[in-house]
């Protein structure tokens, strides 16, 4: 089966379409590892960014004090600066202030690697957008729901936790899908700090084999597929939580 695949790729090459990732073992290996890194980035950053978004929106929904100001400052700072600049800032500026260990030959080695910095930068970036997404969802829930919950004896926190937030979440899905699709595509920026994700490995491959045209098309197709999967999963979650009258159904 694999041999058949290889033969097909070599025939394609003869006809002018040079997909080295299908017949060159080394290129195949690095491409697959790049794809895996991209998927890991998407999954981890989605998880942390939703966590950050939920925490931020909760703070904004429940308090007006210094904690809320802190969240607002975070959103303003992250949302108003380019992701690439943040990535460089975390990796080269903040990274140089972090503790260093030592490797076997006695050279200093930073404790936090480039992949971790990419996860931190991307999560904070998408997290800032998610804060606003969840806040707008919560804002769309009519005040009477909270009042009704309070009248039934709920505390403010419990009313938020059990009534307002679940309803607000349903208003947030469309915008959340936007943010997560954007995050999926934004993982390519990790390339700037040498994280071996899809764009990075593709760049290496087309630099060696000069099959830029083919690799660009492969990249387009793969990102289309990845964002498609993200949208599909969010769609599934949305349908599972469907509640007529709340959010777009």
């Amino acid at each position: 089966m694999l041999e058949l695949f290889r033969q097909f790729a070599l025939e394609l090459k003869a006809s002018g379409i040079n997909l080295t990732i299908l017949y060159d073992a080394f290129d195949f290996e690095r491409f697959v590892s790049g794809l895996a890194t991209t998927c890991a980035l998407v999954v981890l950053c989605t998880f942390f960014s939703i966590l950050i978004g939920a925490a931020g929106a909760t703070v904004l929904g429940l308090s007006r004090g210094p904690a809320a100001m802190l969240v607002c400052a975070y959103v303003a700072l992250i949302r108003n600066t380019p992701l690439l600049v943040q990535m460089y800032f975390f990796y080269f500026a903040v990274g140089s202030l972090m503790p260093v260990g030592q490797n076997a030959i006695g050279l200093p080695v930073p404790m936090i690697g480039n992949f971790t910095w990419a996860v931190i930068a991307l999560s904070l970036y998408a997290g800032a957008f998610n804060v606003e997404t969840f806040r707008s969802g919560i804002g769309a829930v009519h005040g009477s729901y909270e009042e009704a919950a309070l009248a039934l004896g709920y505390s403010r926190f419990k009313a938020f936790r059990y009534v307002v937030a679940p309803l607000g979440l349903r208003f947030s899905f469309a915008s959340l899908a936007n943010n997560l699709v954007d995050l999926t595509k934004a993982t390519t920026v990790a390339y700037a700090i040498g994280v071996a994700e899809l764009l990075y490995v593709s760049n290496q491959i087309w630099s060696d084999s000069l099959n830029t045209f083919e690799m660009m098309n492969v990249m387009l197709a793969i990102y289309l597929l990845l964002t498609g999967i993200v949208v599909w999963i969010i769609g599934r979650a949305q349908r599972a939580m469907r509640l007529p009258g709340f959010g777009v159904n």
């Binding site: 080394f26 260093v100 030959i105 040498g194 290496q204 630099s207 060696d208 084999s209």
Partner: protein, 280 residues
């Protein structure tokens, strides 16, 4: 509104002029004819490969390759326009016509010859090696297996070094990022051109570094034109110019003037092509 109209008019005028100009240059695919008609030679060069091509303190381009570009411009009586390229985009820039010629320390390889036309003779030669801190006591490449080494995205030796010696490469877009990463200990050394490492080592900034491993895969660099131009007047003219530079010793002179140690390749080429009647 008036400003907008003026702008639109200006734009239309500019476009019209451009079309008219293109029509008067009935050169077809002949790049040499186009250069002679426009009196502009667009050369693709890097800006971070000191001393071959870099930006001088005043922002202008300088280096051995820029000197070669200027020599070509002088030969053609054309104004030299330097276009900044990098390792990862230089072949596309040439193939798509953004530049007429590429002098960007590109090693002449079989894969690359399928995309652009390398003009012969070659004008320089180098292999790859690793710049290491003196703390690292290594004499064989095998000792580098599994180590994280910084590199430049798009360099031809990234793949063989990974395949042959199983290095873990951490590649960045430019030399500035590579140097920061090295200083912060993100990699133990830098995979690079052996000539470039020699030049770096001459600088006191790199006093704590050395190049203990034997250089690998010494291969010649080529000046490239578009494939269609290779056997046409443009390619042949450039080939003749390079041969003359070898014969006259201009390449050796430029190498020296730019502070690079004499390379065996240039000496060999000069000996082979030099004027047999010239008095010693």
């Amino acid at each position: 509104m008036k400003a907008l109209k003026t702008f639109a008019f200006g734009l239309a005028l500019g476009l019209g002029a451009a079309v008219a100009r293109a029509e008067t240059l009935d050169c077809g695919d002949d790049t040499l004819c186009k250069i002679e008609a426009t009196k502009v030679l667009k050369v693709g060069t890097k800006d971070d490969y000191k001393p071959w091509s870099y930006r001088a303190a005043d922002g202008s381009f300088a280096g051995m390759e820029v000197d070669l570009a200027n020599a070509l411009g002088q030969l053609l009586g054309a104004k030299v326009e330097i276009v900044k390229v990098n390792s990862a985009n230089r072949f596309e820039f040439l193939a798509q016509g953004q530049i007429d010629i590429m002098i960007a320390s590109a090693t002449d390889t079989a894969e690359r010859r399928q995309v652009v036309g390398f003009v012969h003779p070659n004008y320089y030669s180098s292999g790859y090696n690793i710049l290491l801190p003196k703390k690292v006591k290594a004499t064989k490449w095998d000792e580098m297996t599994g180590q994280t080494i910084c590199a430049i995205q798009g360099a031809w030796y990234n793949k063989p070094a990974q395949e042959k010696f199983k290095l873990e490469l951490l590649a960045f877009a430019g030399t500035a990022e590579v140097e920061s990463a090295l200083q912060q200990g993100r990699c133990i050394g830098v995979l690079s051109d052996d000539n470039l490492i020699n030049v770096q080592l001459a600088d006191p900034k790199w006093a704590d570094y050395y190049m203990p491993l034997p250089t690998q895969d010494d291969a010649p660099w080529g000046i490239a034109v578009r494939k269609a131009d290779l056997d046409k007047p443009w390619g042949v003219l450039v080939a003749g110019a390079i041969a003359n530079w070898h014969r006259s010793g201009k390449l050796l002179e430029l190498e020296k003037a730019n502070g690079i140690a004499e390379s065996a390749y240039l000496r060999k080429m000069h000996e082979a092509l030099k004027d047999h009647l010239a008095t010693q």
